[in-house]
């Protein structure tokens, strides 16, 4: 049986959208704010993959620096200045 190459992007869409739900759940549950920041970053990676598959290259170029570069870096600095664990 010959496999259609076109199904691969749709499989990746299903996979990364389901994993992003799991990541959001982990972000809400996590008590350590540093790890929660890293989980938000991971969710950003899945979302940028989705933007790429949704054929939005402009949004990929904007979203990767914002969600993987600037926001986690500033959040690390904020967590260092305030407190690390949520009570």
């Amino acid at each position: 049986m010959q496999i259609d190459v076109l199904i691969i992007p749709y499989v990746v869409i299903i996979y990364s959208s389901l994993l992003s739900v799991f990541m959001t759940y982990l972000v809400v549950r996590e008590r350590d704010l540093l790890i929660a920041t890293i989980l938000t970053l991971t969710q950003g990676v899945f979302y940028s993959l989705l933007y790429l598959l949704l054929m939005a290259p402009d949004l990929v170029l904007t979203y990767i620096p914002v969600s993987v570069g600037v926001t986690p870096l500033l959040l690390f600095l904020l967590v260092k200045k305030t407190e690390r664990f949520e009570r």
């Binding site: 939005a56 402009d58 170029l61 904007t62 570069g69 870096l73 500033l74």
Partner: protein, 270 residues
């Protein structure tokens, strides 16, 4: 399990139910759409279309054409919102004074030498993304956010003191930001101000020539499409986003002694 939790759970499940119903009843359009919506189709058709000269913007990238030509006024106001939100940061941190001469700490030597090589490359890549925004994926917003990564990297790996010694101070970034905003407003008014003295019909935010207005921004450079004002807008928006977000990041990464000066200023104000 108190009353608040129950209300929260009920309202959130109602939200999920309502949104799912809206989607499954095809309230947001067909679930597997096969055709473009008419509005989107007309944008795609007219974005680069020299055969329909009154509606085209001569930009190969349709998204950039919508951002800076068809919905240009929206983007102008969104630039103002960006300006206002960063000005709000300045209001919260009032009384802030730059203290230089505190010494550079930063990370290890290895990360510093790597950052010295990488950071200029990131900035150059951001500028290239910004000025090719009408030909390839990219534009002012994209290039600006890419270049901000270099600035935040320098702040994290070196320190604020390194930026101060290189002449990057918050007041200069603020000046750059205001100049960029002014340049965007002047570009949007340029054709109208040329046409008004000589009594020629022209519009604000006009890019290409219209049916009743012969004035036009330069559409083609040699044999490459330049997309008129879109090129200029992308360049100025790069300056605004880069200087604005770098400014905000520098305000957030204050040292303890500088934060003390804010507290003293707040007490004096009260």
């Amino acid at each position: 399990m108190n009353r608040k939790d129950i209300a929260l759970a009920l309202s959130l499940s109602l939200l999920v139910l309502a949104l799912s119903l809206t989607i499954s009843l095809e309230g947001l359009g067909p679930i597997v759409p096969r055709e473009l919506r008419p509005l989107g189709a007309s944008f795609v058709q007219n974005s680069y279309n020299p055969w329909n000269a009154s509606l085209t913007s001569l930009s190969l990238n349709v998204v950039t054409a919508i951002v800076w030509d068809y919905r240009g006024l929206d983007t102008l106001y969104e630039t103002l919102v960006l300006f206002a939100s960063i000005a709000a940061t300045l209001v919260v941190l009032r009384g802030y004074s730059e203290l230089s001469g505190l010494g550079i700490k930063g990370l290890s030597d290895v990360s510093k030498s790597v950052t010295v090589v990488i950071a200029p490359l990131i900035v150059v890549y951001g500028i290239a993304t910004a000025i090719h925004g009408h030909l390839t994926p990219g534009g002012g917003f994209q290039g600006g956010t890419i270049a901000v990564v270099a600035a935040t990297l320098i702040i994290a790996v070196f320190s604020l003191e390194y930026l101060y010694r290189r002449g990057v101070s918050t007041s200069r970034l603020m000046l750059l930001r205001i100049l960029g905003l002014l340049a965007i407003i002047l570009t949007s008014l340029s054709l109208a101000s040329i046409g008004m003295p000589s009594n020629v019909n022209a519009y604000i935010l006009q890019n290409m020539a219209k049916d009743d207005s012969a004035l036009s921004m330069p559409g083609v450079l040699f044999d490459t499409p330049l997309a008129g004002s879109i090129f200029l807008y992308n360049l100025f928006e790069f300056i605004i986003v880069f200087s604005g977000l770098t400014f905000a990041a520098m305000m957030l990464v204050l040292r303890e002694s500088e934060l003390e000066s804010i507290k003293e200023a707040a007490e004096v104000y009260e």
